[in-house]
Subunit: 86 residues, 2 copies
Amino acid sequence: MGLVPRVVVDVMPKPEILDPQGKAVLGALPRLGFSGVTEVRQGKRFELQVEGEVTEAVLADVHRMAEMLLSNPVIENFEVRVEETA
Amino acid sequence: MGLVPRVVVDVMPKPEILDPQGKAVLGALPRLGFSGVTEVRQGKRFELQVEGEVTEAVLADVHRMAEMLLSNPVIENFEVRVEETA
């Protein structure tokens, strides 16, 4: 079978944007007995399977998908990368 | 300043679990003019800053946080890893 490449898009709130979900997690940690975590940011992770090889053209397409559909560029940053999976 | 280590927790729906958010994204792609994507899974990404060094004990703690708070182990898998950031 070989390796199946997977394209991953990570979408995170921009550093200057408030992240209420991350703050809620951070606030819950001490109540659960955890200490030592100083910041939590929560974002989204997308895993895409594509037909055929992951070429530069495919990655350019995924970039446009991330801009148009997967993220809100006003408040979020995204990163596209390829992961080889078994 | 040096590198600030960041602990990342990726939380994804288990393969056997329906993922309506991923399906919605997959369904929207052709309408936006994109082809060639055969599957989309949507999950969550958490970025944690911790005090001091990221030791094995810290990572074990983050594992327990992921089990108790960041994921729902019945329907989601998670992965913990360290990323060095500038």
